[in-house]
Amino acid sequence: MKTYRAALIGCSRMGAFIDHERNDPGPHSHAAAYVACKRTDLVACSDLRPEPMAEAGRLYGVPFDRQYTDYREMMVKEQPDIVSIATQPEQRAAIVIFAAQNGVKGIYAEKAMSASLEEADSMVKEVEDRQVAFNLGTHRRWHPGFDAMKKVIHSGHLGPLKSLILHSTGSLFNSASHGFDLLFHLSDDCPVDAVQAQLNLDVNALEGDVLHEDPSGHGFLYFANGVTGYALNSGRGMEVEAVCRNGHVSSLNNGWEWELRETTGIDPRRGRPCLKRSHFPAFQPIPPVANIVMDLVHALDSGQSTRGGVRTALAGHEVIFGFIESHRRGGIRVNLPIQNRTLKLRRERAPNQPRYRRT
């Protein structure tokens, strides 16, 4: 079987070093996933900063002569099959479009998808026109526990899904991009018709169509099938609760625990149905990042779609910008897709310093 040549653009935390922050079994970074996967070789890497690139090269065995400060040069010279784009969203679209136009067959892009919807639209066009397999790094879509949760929700056992509650929405581009994609995943990727939101946005952070910070906020997602998603910041951390007519199923402590409560009868004291804890199905834990890479490999082998895909990524991205638009208009409900595609995230921030070693 073919071994695919992978290259990494953005040799910082998500690209190479997040494994040093985690105690649970990896891989967690893009580079670690390509090294761990038997069907991929990490052959080259690129970053504007030579120092983290050299550290990443040392850690994952990418020789100096295959480390590039210009990603264009890297792609032209190395002709990788798969490219990971682990930069900030402001740089993402240009790199994805260049990769698609230069023969890359599979793209693993960090979230958020891009800095604007206009850019995201261009990404969709290039990726689809050139039939590039695409996955966004919204990991929980590839987490077997959330697959089990989704299966319980849609098994019919608990009756129809009514509401989805995301207890930690956080900043829209960095955190909510995960949460929104998870809500889509758990809703079986039902389209969202409209959203409504309130943000914690500094008045100076939005100048015309330029957004100078990644705002946090909370709001609602109105799915086309009548399900409502509640994107809260309740303080419970990354926990998700699905409310069905006859039961609730929850992911607790960021996917470490799972809880199923179902109607098992009438509470004699109250004369009403009550929920009791029940057995959540067992699943085989596999690091989501490994699954994302294997999903790309499968797509390249078979020609089939990935589990994510560029349209799915765009759906979550629409919600981010829908939240911003709703906030701009006083918190009213706004229909998706939103008309203003030019609003753009443009932050002036120093790059993060990754942890080169486990501390």
Partner: protein, 360 residues
């Protein structure tokens, strides 16, 4: 022990027959509560319908029955009057206003009249009013006359919720930051309970702003009048920054989340789940279940009436005093106002005080 003379207006379900239904914590009907309490003596009742008066006489052995409640109040020298009519004043099964001019508001009108007549203690079925301007008038009348007031928001008087509130007050979850009500409900009949319970659990802070949406979503409000009690969802922003959200679900549950943990009333008051932060898991805080005592409640309606009597004897405010009931009623109506304005946040006090929401 002094016995207080009680009269009831509206001799139907809430005052007389409620205990026939499958609800926890009996007695629930006000007449049954009076029988169960040494401090109260049910001496009179009033209802417009003769059949209801006769049924009440037969069931409770009360002979001082009146068609006109004013006559009852004048003759019977009552210490406590329970207002158990429908909110609109229409007889059941009416569930809708007959026309857009209808603004029946029986609970409010009776409460104002009884306060003006000098009745010292009032139990008023919820919601206390169908518009904010009427709620204003009830509050003004009760405060002017020193009338003690509790309304039938039963969870406020249920021990299982009191245990949750006590745990929050003890600091079990740190500083409260957010609240979630899990439950599907109509606005005035049901969410008056849910908003009141959230207030109660949080220590009755002021409400600063409300937003919400009625069902169906395309419901249009004409002539500042909603002719039925619509289902609704809402968010409430309390003074101090706590924000609460309702999520349609069943059974009813309430969760308050704080800096150190969360506490959730389960299964419509049938249990309590306490979770606390304990170390880290992965890169985030780990929350674990923690032990908490749970004791089943006794009748919330008895507790409510006992609270009225105790407040009267000690000269203290009641647990659900008129200012709190007014606050919660205004928040409920502000949900409808938010819907009317496309889902915008409504700062309280709200400007549109005439918006009328019919309810049973």
């Amino acid at each position: 022990m002094k016995k207080y003379r009680v009269g009831i207006i509206g001799l139907g379900r809430m005052s007389s027959t409620l205990d026939e239904e499958d609800h926890p914590y009996h007695p629930r009907a006000i007449a049954a509560c009076c029988q169960a309490m040494d401090q109260l003596e049910l001496v009179a009742g009033a209802d417009l319908l003769e059949a209801k008066r006769e049924a009440f006489r037969h069931r409770w052995g009360v002979n001082a029955l009146y068609e006109d409640y004013r006559e009852m109040v004048q003759r019977e020298k009552l210490d406590l009057v329970a207002v158990c009519t429908t909110a609109s004043g229409l007889q059941k099964p009416a569930r809708q206003a007959p026309d857009s001019a209808f603004r029946g508001d029986s609970h409010a009108d009776l409460a104002i009249d009884l306060a003006e007549a000098g009745v010292p203690m009032l139990y008023v079925e919820k919601a206390m009013a169908s518009s904010t301007e009427k709620a204003d008038a009830v509050k003004e009348a009760c405060n002017r006359h020193g009338t003690l007031f509790n309304s039938g928001v039963s969870r406020r008087f249920t021990r299982t919720y009191e245990q949750v509130r006590d745990a929050i007050e003890r600091g079990e979850i740190g500083e409260p930051k957010a609240g979630v009500h899990y439950g599907s409900s109509s606005l005035m009949h049901g969410h008056i309970h849910s908003i009141d319970t959230l207030c109660y659990l949080l220590g009755d802070p002021l409400i600063e702003a409300v937003r919400g949406e009625l069902r169906p979503r395309d419901l249009t409000i004409e002539e500042n009048h909603i002719p039925f009690d619509p289902n609704a969802v809402y968010q409430v922003e309390f003074a101090g920054g706590v924000e609460a959200t309702t999520v349609p679900a069943a059974p009813w549950e309430f969760e308050i989340l704080g800096t150190e943990g969360s506490i959730r009333s389960l299964n419509n008051g049938g249990g309590i789940l306490l979770r606390k932060k304990r170390g880290r898991r992965g890169s985030r805080d780990n929350w674990e279940e923690a032990p908490i005592d749970f004791t089943e409640s006794t009748s919330p309606f008895v507790i409510c009436l006992e609270d009225l009597v105790d407040a009267y004897e000690k000269g203290r405010p009641t647990r659900g005093c008129v200012d709190i009931a007014h606050r919660v009623t205004e928040a409920c109506i502000a949900v409808a106002e938010s819907h009317r304005l496309g889902g915008k946040w409504i700062d309280l006090p709200m400007n549109n005080r005439g918006l009328y929401v019919f309810h049973v």
